[in-house]
Symmetry: C2
Subunit: 462 residues, 2 copies
Amino acid sequence: MATAHNISAIEAAMGELHDFLGDRVSAGEAVREQHSHGESTHPPGMPDLVCFPATTEEVSRIALVSARHGLPIVPFGAGTSLEGHVHALRGGISIDMSRMNRILRVSIDDMDATVEAGVSRKQLQQALDNTGLTFFIDPGADATLGGMAATRASGTTAVRYGTMRENVLGLTVVLADGRIIHTGTRARKSSAGYDLTRLFVGSEGTLGIITEVTLRLHAQPEAVTAAICAFETIEGAVKTVIEAIQLGVAVARIEFMDEHQVDAVNRYSHLDMLLKPTLLFEFHGVSQASVEEAAQMAEQLASEHGSLGFQWQTTLADRERLWKARHDVYYATRALRPGSDLLTTDVCVPISRLAECIVATRADLDSVSFPAVMVGHVGDGNFHVQCLLGPDQIEEANQFAQRLVERAQAMGGTCTGEHGVGSGKKKYLYAEHGEGLEVMRAIKRTLDPDNRMNPGKVLDVD
Amino acid sequence: MATAHNISAIEAAMGELHDFLGDRVSAGEAVREQHSHGESTHPPGMPDLVCFPATTEEVSRIALVSARHGLPIVPFGAGTSLEGHVHALRGGISIDMSRMNRILRVSIDDMDATVEAGVSRKQLQQALDNTGLTFFIDPGADATLGGMAATRASGTTAVRYGTMRENVLGLTVVLADGRIIHTGTRARKSSAGYDLTRLFVGSEGTLGIITEVTLRLHAQPEAVTAAICAFETIEGAVKTVIEAIQLGVAVARIEFMDEHQVDAVNRYSHLDMLLKPTLLFEFHGVSQASVEEAAQMAEQLASEHGSLGFQWQTTLADRERLWKARHDVYYATRALRPGSDLLTTDVCVPISRLAECIVATRADLDSVSFPAVMVGHVGDGNFHVQCLLGPDQIEEANQFAQRLVERAQAMGGTCTGEHGVGSGKKKYLYAEHGEGLEVMRAIKRTLDPDNRMNPGKVLDVD
C-alpha cells in the first residue's frame, strides 16, 4: 500500500530504528496490515513501519527518528478502538505498546498502581487479586490502560467510580521532540500548576505518547447485589435512575437495554428477560445489609415508575452470568445478523433529556432500513445504538449517526461519551466547542508543530 | 503606588473602560489598596485600575482594553487567597467579579448548576435549600466559585466528593484577546477532544478569566453522623484512616488535628477535647442504619489503633458545633497569639507517607522559634501547618516551609494540595514537574503571548 512518504526516508528510519530495536521493528506486510485498523467501519490506514518498544526511552528514540525523517507516529494498544484512532492515515510508524506490559508498582495503602501503557485491563485486575483492591473502569473490551487513558474511556461503572479522567493520577508521556515528561504526583490532589494529566487523558496520541499510567484503585466491595428490572416505558426506567441517584443510593452500575437489545442478549446468552426496556442494577456496599437497603430503595422507586418486578441476582454465579451477558452485547448484536458490519454510536446527554433522546432516536430508527439495538450507561446519560449493516447500508447509517449527534448536541450533550473522536467524529467538534476548538488547535500546534503525532485524529490543523 | 505602566496608557484605558462600565471602573486609592492583596504574608501589589464588570461580554471588552494598552489583568474574587493570586504585582487592571453573582440555572434532575464566577459558596448553598441537593466543596473561607475553580480548591469533603477538578463540569472563559469560549458540555462525561475545562481549573487566571462555572451537585445525605476520636499516636490515627478507606467505609470527612491545634480549638470554641492527635469524622448515608454501620466500623478500626474512645456527635447541634469549630481553626489559631502574622503551608503526600511526614514536620517545628499547629484533610494526605509569627519570624517560617515542601516532594507529594501556587510557590514547581514545567510555559505563551493574564503567578515566562 502506497503512503505519502519518501521511500528513502522510510528506509533510513528503518535502519536507525533497527539499530536500537533489532527485530522489534518491522516493515512486513502482514504486521503492517494488522496495525492498520481497530474495530470499526472506518477506512484502514497502513503504517510504513511497526515498532515494538520495551521502554519509555525506546519510545523517545522512536520519536526522534520520526522527527528526523518527518514520519508520523501512531500509538497502538489492543486495537479495540471504535473511532479509527490507531489507523495510520498518513503512514509512518505504528508504535505497538504490547511489549510495555509490566505492572511497575501497586500500593495497597495508597490504593494506586503504576503500569506501563501496554498493560491490559484484565491483566491489572488479575494482578490485584487478593489485595482487596480493584480497578473498576471497564469499557467492555480488554483494552490497554494506555489506550483507555488516551481515549478517556469509561464503561458500566462510571456512575459510581468515574471515568479515566477521574482515575488517572499521573502519566509518563513522550513528546513529539522525544522529551519525556511525568505529569501529576502520587498525592491524591494538587493545585500545583496546569493539569497536564487531564490534558493528555483524552488526547488520543495527538499531543504525546503515553508510556506509563498511575491509576487510582478502589476498595473491592465487601458486599454486592444485582437485579434485572423491566419497565413498561423508557421514561419510567430513566425516572427511576434519576431518583435513585438523587437519593444517593449506592448504585455501582445502572445499565439500560431497549427491548431489541434484550432480545439479542436473550438469544445469545440463553436468558429469558422480558422483551421490554430493561435496567440492570449492581449495588456495592460495606455489608450485605447496606446493599440490600440500597437495592430495596431502588426497587421501591422502580415500582413507582411502572416496573414489571425486580429480578434479584444474589448469587455470584447469577451476577457473573448477568454481567457477562451485558459485556457480550457486541457479540449478541452481531449474532442477530451474522456477517454484517457494526456501527456503534456514542452520544451522551444530560440525564434530564435522556428519555426524550432515546425515544426520538428509536422513532428515527423506524425510518431506516437496517436493524439496530440500544444499550447504555444510563446513570451517565450515555447510550449506544448498534446498527447492523449490510454492504450498502453504511452511508445510510452514517446519516442516522449524524442526526443522532445533532440531536444530542442540541440537548446540551456530546458526540462521544467514551469512545473518543478519532477520525470519525472530528466533523462534530466545532458544533460542540465553537471557538474552544481553536484553543485546542493552538495547543496541538504548540506541542506538535510538525503534526507528526497521530495526524488526522481529533482535530485538523492543516 | 507606582507601577511600571505608562501613565498615559492607564489614562487612555480608564477612558475606554469608563465608556462601557461608567462608574464601575475606579482609580481611587482606597479601592486599589483593597484589591492589592488576599489573606497572606506575601507582599501586596497595587492595580492601577479596578473594574466591576457585570457580564462576560464586559470582561471580554476589558481584555481588549488590556490588549490595546499592554496592561495586565488580574481577576479578583472574594480576596481569600493564601498565595498572593490576586496581588497585581505588575499593576494593571484588577477585575473584581463581585457583580457577577447570579445563579443562572439549577437542574435538580441533572444535579448540576451554572453560576457566574462571583457567586460565593455560601450563596450557592442557600440557593440549593429545599432542593435535596448541595454543593459540598468547602475550603473554609466563603470564597467565590470562580476563585475556587481557578485555584482547584477543595477542603474537608474531598475524600468523598472530590475537589474542584472533579466537580467543575464546564466553564465560560475570556481569553487574553477577548475571545469567549465555553468548555465542556452538560453531559456528565465526554471524550470529545482536549479537556479544556481541566486546563483552566487550577490555572489561576494566567490562561484566561473564568466568568461562569457549571458545577456538579450532590444529593443532600439522608442521614449524617459524626464523631471525635483522640489517639495515643499520629500513626494510629493515620492507620485508622487508611484502613477505613480501604474498606470502603462511607466517610464524608476525616480531619486531623495535632494536640496543639486541639488546644487552640478548645480555647476558642469552648470545647474539651483531649489534648492528643485527634480525628474528626463525618459519615453520610441513605439511612440512619447505614451511617451507624459505617461509624461503628470506623470505631472498631480506631480501637485497634490506639484510640482513646469515639465521642459520638449524633445531634445536628453537636455536629454543627464540631464543624464550626473545625472551620474556625484559622481564628482559633490566631487567637493563640493575637496580632501575629499567620503563614499556612499546604503540602499533600501519598497517604502511606503521611504519618512519617507529620512526625518529621513536628520534629522540625521543635527547632523553630515560633508556635505552630497542624490540621489536615487526612483522607487526602493533605495537611496545613499554621505558623504564628512575630514581625522578625517570617523569614524563619519561609525556611521552615521550604524544608516541609522538599520533604513532601521527596515522598512523592506536592507543594500545594489546594491553596494553589500564586506567587509564593513558583520556586517549587520545577522540582515537582521537571520538563513538564516547560510544557506549561509553552501553553501559557500560546494562550497569552503578551503575558498579560495575571503575570508573575504560577510560572515565570519572561
